[in-house]
Subunit: 396 residues, 2 copies
């Protein structure tokens, strides 16, 4: 057997394992501590009643011969693809239902989409979601980074005089919480069209955008249908991280129609559709009652984000995100590395976050906080974080 | 962008589309006909009560903050991996629970596993499951065929003097229904070890093996832990074709431990676990009550298989399968191609099956029947099939 040599080039990631080990050691030494995590990248609120109701109805279908569902269409049931087309129509984006592919989550599709390309040069945001990097190492692609930093508000813009085959954009961004404006995204779309690149647009956090002037889909930008694929998910908008459902939009205009056909062929050959009961539940999340209920859940998280944002702002601690995003990306006190700050915060405030360097070299000196926790605990944790951080800042 | 050139080498498959078109035309011309399909490759019985009960309980979990489940382990929940370890222990196979990976179905894993290898020569059964061929074209591998025919009972054996990197074996076989004996499988395991090949063992139909002398897992064979990966599924054993859950076993011995680590890395990077509610339902299928109920469902299908097998045997129509397999692979009347027989059977008996040539060049002149239909209709259809087939045979 001949193993794929690219796997040997992957770095082992110990980020979350290291965090867990440090937290365990802290709890062992301080069993009475009121430990609170602001590092949770997962939702914590239960599924909404409308979603649960539909999940039960779908389970009931599976119990009788007349309503049982076996293999479904690999690209997803029509009822869900049509609901997603309506979801886009509500923001003025017109899609054909055969441009929408239902999958088991954006992570799978973001990884698997690399198979449709070969020997590509890719441009990844740094800091960015670590899986972007890993899947391209696995594919043997040439990896370049677009640097995010405080001067560009963690929104890297197109580099002049260079070209890439594939460009990854995540907006609202993980881990930075930065959201591209319409004009900024237009610059990327124009650049991609001029240079013949394809944009992989990760819209997993679109539901957190409240400012109506900000785009929530790359297809709100003119010309995007000729150069972009969009990945989205029910994970954060409807609490589906454990349910597993997402979708990918591959417009017919891409590569003269070839990419849509290739993705259909990939999915019909190496995938067998998302679970019927999960697709039914996902469709309910996009229904009127589901939208109403899930908006309330998102508002709950966004109040947490606002609490963190406001507390950091009042304390003069530099950060991005937290307004149209569940992530807050803060500067560590001057001179501290991400891990030094992590250790100090854990030790002195019993608060856990995520060291920014875990998201790339440019994340060093930064720290990610999230809005997915319990409201009361979040407020308590951020108060302690601010006190400890100001004390460290003033001492220096 | 640079597209993967291998996709252009794929043949479009029109098999099931062509069947559907012919059936539609027949129904249009004969609206009163009692059309019956013996071509169904999907289960038709509803999920068992124990499975439905657990699916409802899991849905209930998702409705409350205290019992809500977000992201699960990418390799699957411990409760399900341990249940699968016990499933193997019952057949005398000892596995570690970190050798078992839960996925969303064998089709996904069979396709995705090719990523761990590069520039491989692969040996596929002909006739065989068409996706084996397609995923290896996509991967750019060199494809060779192991011919199944009546002389080897559609169980090709290792070719002497040749070697391959990857060998696909499906037992019980789709489409042929042929089941390898322990001795035959041992010959493949020995061959793989001698030549440094890895066996991809597709055990999707293992639940249909009733003859206890026949192996239902490649790991019942000595030495297999050093050369085989096994793919299995709840699709046919518990009616999960629409639920989506399967598993893959990657022993630690393979490639000195490298393959298990690579698959873990692949799954943690490009997959986010099967749905929690589906995993709970799958675990119930492996529980005592679930096993009892699902055995009755399999017995239902196996009675259909027996009805087809016995009718063909009594009529002297040559075939394999139908005993320890849900598939029956029959010889078309002498001189007829698969499609000629398909057309004649549809026109004269109003019975639908699957032309063997759809499973590879060696499938020409054969026809696949399945046991997944309704019992009463199956009996009626096979009686008509035998009458019409004998009439065609005698006329010649």
């Amino acid at each position: 057997m001949k193993l794929n040599p690219n796997y040997a080039k992957l770095n082992e990631s110990y980020l979350f394992a290291d965090i867990a080990a440090k937290v365990r050691a802290f709890v062992r030494e301080h069993p009475q501590a009121d430990l609170i995590s602001l590092g949770i990248g997962d939702v914590t609120r239960p599924l909404s009643p409308a979603v649960i109701c539909e999940l039960n109805a779908a389970a009931h279908d599976m119990a009788a011969e007349e309503t049982f569902h076996g293999y479904g269409p690999e690209q997803g049931y029509g009822f869900l693809r049509e609901a997603i087309v309506r979801h886009y129509a509500a923001k003025g984006v017109v899609l054909h239902d055969d441009e929408v592919f239902i999958g088991d989550g954006a992570k799978s599709d973001l990884g698997n989409m690399t198979e449709l390309f070969s020997e590509s040069s890719v441009l990844l945001p740094d800091p960015g979601y670590p899986a972007y990097y890993d899947v391209n190492v696995m594919a043997g692609n040439r990896i370049h980074f677009a640097a995010g930093h405080s001067r560009n508000g963690f929104k890297p813009m197109p580099p002049s005089g260079r070209r890439f085959d594939i460009i990854y954009i995540c907006s609202p961004g993980n881990p930075t919480g930065a959201v591209y404006t319409r004009e900024e995204l237009k610059a990327w779309v124009d650049y991609a069209r001029e240079t013949g690149a394809v944009i992989f647009f990760d819209a997993a956090y679109e539901a957190f955008v409240h400012d109506r002037s900000l785009p929530t889909s790359v297809f709100e930008i003119e010309g995007a249908r000729e150069c972009a694929v969009e990945f989205c998910s029910f994970s954060k908008s409807a609490g589906f991280t454990g349910m597993r459902c997402g979708w990918t939009v591959v417009p017919h205009e891409l590569a003269g129609g070839a990419l849509n056909k290739m993705w259909l062929r990939r999915q019909t050959t190496k995938f067998n559709g998302a679970s019927y009961v999960v697709q039914r539940a996902a469709a309910a999340a996009l229904g009127e009652q589901g939208q109403y209920e899930n908006r309330k859940i998102i508002d709950y998280y966004m109040r947490n984000a606002r609490v963190i944002h406001d507390a950091l702002t009042a304390a003069g601690i530099r950060h991005t995100g937290g307004v149209d995003s569940p992530y807050i990306w803060m500067r560590c006190p001057r001179g501290m590395t991400s891990w030094e700050y992590f250790d100090a915060l854990l030790e002195r405030a019993a608060v856990v976050g995520t060291p920014g360097v875990g998201f790339g070299r440019r994340g060093e000196g930064y720290f990610r906080l999230t809005a997915f926790g319990n409201a009361e605990k979040t407020a308590r944790a951020v108060a302690r974080l601010v006190d400890v951080t100001l004390a460290m800042t003033n001492r220096k």
